[in-house]
Symmetry: C2
Subunit: 344 residues, 2 copies
DNA sequence: GTTAGCACTCCTTGTTGCCGAGTGCTAATT
DNA sequence: AATTAGCACTCGGCAACAAGGAGTGCTAAC
């Protein structure tokens, strides 16, 4: 199972070539490469072995070879030559941060756009986890007799709002008192923990000050119940249409449908721990992604993981380049965010 | 140029048949239809005339006929038999309004989903025009020494927020005074007119009360400058992939790219006046939509047009059904919204 | 005015044959 | 023992061709 140096070389050249050309690569064309100094017959023997070991495949009996998923996996794990980004790519990525930034979402959106433009694949960016942000302030603004909107501002400037109906028994004074209590008790609490805290600490206080406190309590707790989903941003959703492996409409269809079905992507991307992760083909456990690879990286504030950036491309994707790009952007995002939010 | 009854009949049957089958229709298959009592030779003569008049076309010399854009146009304008929705469709549409509704966006989103499911085309819904909503309340919440977030709540419960940097010369007291002045002067003003009003009325007041008022003024006015874009919602973006006329990847590609390029759609849809509008093929003035038709309807609160719902399908689309669906949903949306917001 | 009949056109489908790129195997070479 | 040259074989892709079918336009008869 240990590959010889020559086998490694051949595997690497096959993968590189196939990534470039999307054509099965044959022994003769390999033998002409600079890196390779032995004859096509030798290569044929080696390729036959590599095929037995499962690293490459034939598309039909007398065709050239194509990397298998196992082949890509080995390539990614052992053969990848870390590529240095060229100056142009670097400056394009840095242009994301050129303007003054208040709305973090804008940065995220721009990142998605630029990633997809740079790679010609589909980019996916998972927005910053709102739920770990800390509450800065709650406001309740009555719209009319029956409804009001509750506004939650986090220390990062993110704003969530929920409309709810005001319990009949509650009057304007009650509302104001409630808001004061909430702000008093909940400022600095991560959004995730609000619900908990409301029942544990705020409930008591409300009871002391508000007539009919429990309806109010539940109304507010309910507003907070809906999970605050991180937003997903996409770039170049249609880029996959240009990839030769997706000449087949039904493949495209299932892939695009899956992308539009954000839930799937969300789960696929969210759980990743820090660092670069490469999922190849069926490793993604999804029919629609059989011919796709997904590379993800995370960005953080300080030590705290905030969100994810990812590239979805064909298995035949430029792993080396994409990894470099993601690494670079992820670091930049982290730096900027850390500077921006660290010491609030 | 006036068509005989028989020509009208033939045109109608051709369009109907082609919409159903997507196959060019020939004289013989026409002659077999129930509605038609004359021979294929007669039909051939009539079809030849209809072709000369530009209502139908051949795909090649000896093929059956296919409606031209002019043919569709005539069909839509004169031959459409208004279709009554079946009970199932009706109840599916009404299910949109089943739950209690606070967030209007949810309704809009659900509408888009259901429209596309029902038709198997792509649905586009333009969210309610925020800019005509009236300001209910402004809040400014400082995040730290340098930045604050301004929150604008409309009488419909919509919340807009902008982060800005606090001018160095402004202190907490100034901020509070500013907010009070703003709320005092701007409550009830449509968001569209805020900027105007700020310079005309608020500026003076600010000058009287706030040190260094003009920086504050510009900061706030700037936040409001970015146009408040109505949001676009889509349903069934990938539905077009199942249409036989889009077997060609490059067509799909340009169409999907145009859809993702929301600006285009926005302009296409926004300007429509009330009522149903049908744009066929090149009437949309867009290469990517050459084989598409766009049917739009508007929804309102009372007399005031709020937004648009639309279906994008192949020119060979079920005009009658789609028009009925849009009419029905548009009326329902209007009713619900009017009831909800009319007398605030 | 309508229709039956017929020649003609063009798309579609299937067949065939051929070329080129590639393989696997064997035997010769290093 | 490893490498290579040589050769027979396989398969996809392409072009050429034929047959069949759906449709048309035209003419002449009804």
């Amino acid at each position: 199972m240990l590959l010889t140096d020559r086998q490694l070389l051949i595997l690497q050249v096959i993968v590189d070539d196939f990534i470039r050309s999307a054509q099965p690569v044959g022994s003769r064309s390999l033998s002409k490469k600079e890196e390779i100094s032995f004859s096509s017959a030798t290569i044929r023997n080696e390729m036959s072995d590599l095929e037995d070991l499962g690293f490459i495949e034939k598309t039909h009996t007398s065709s050239g070879r194509v990397p298998s998923e196992k082949g890509y996996r080995y390539y990614v794990d052992h053969l990848l030559s870390p590529q240095v980004l060229n100056q142009q790519d670097v400056s394009i990525i840095q242009s994301i941060f050129a303007e003054k930034i208040f709305e973090f979402e804008k940065i995220i959106q721009r990142s998605a756009k630029i990633l997809s433009d740079l790679t010609n694949y589909t980019s996916i960016v998972l927005g910053p986890a709102v739920s770990i942000n800390k509450l800065k302030r709650i406001q309740i603004i009555p719209l009319n007799k029956e409804t009001a909107v509750a506004i939650f501002v986090t220390d990062t400037g993110h704003v969530e709002n929920r409309t709810f109906s005001i319990p009949a028994s509650v009057d304007a004074g009650d509302l104001e008192k409630t808001v004061n209590i909430l702000n008093d008790r909940l400022a600095g609490v991560p959004l995730d923990d609000l619900n908990d805290k409301i029942y544990k600490e705020v409930a008591m206080l409300l009871r002391q000050h508000i007539h009919n406190y429990d309806l109010m309590l539940h109304t507010i707790a309910d507003s907070l119940k809906m999970p605050i989903h991180e937003k997903l941003f996409f770039g170049g959703k249609t880029n996959m249409l240009s990839q030769p492996e997706f000449h087949d409409i039904s493949k495209i269809r299932s892939l695009l449908m899956m992308i539009d079905q954000e839930e799937w992507i969300y789960n696929l991307i969210r759980k990743n721990s820090a660092g670069i992760h490469v999922k190849i083909g069926r490793e993604n456990n999804n029919r629609a992604m059989e011919n796709c690879s997904l590379i993800t990286a995370t960005y953080s504030v300080g030590q705290e993981k905030l969100g994810t950036i990812a590239i979805l491309g064909p298995t035949r994707m430029e792993y080396s380049r994409v990894i470099s790009l993601l690494q670079f952007l992820s670091k930049d995002l982290t730096d900027v965010l850390t500077k921006l939010y660290q010491n609030n």
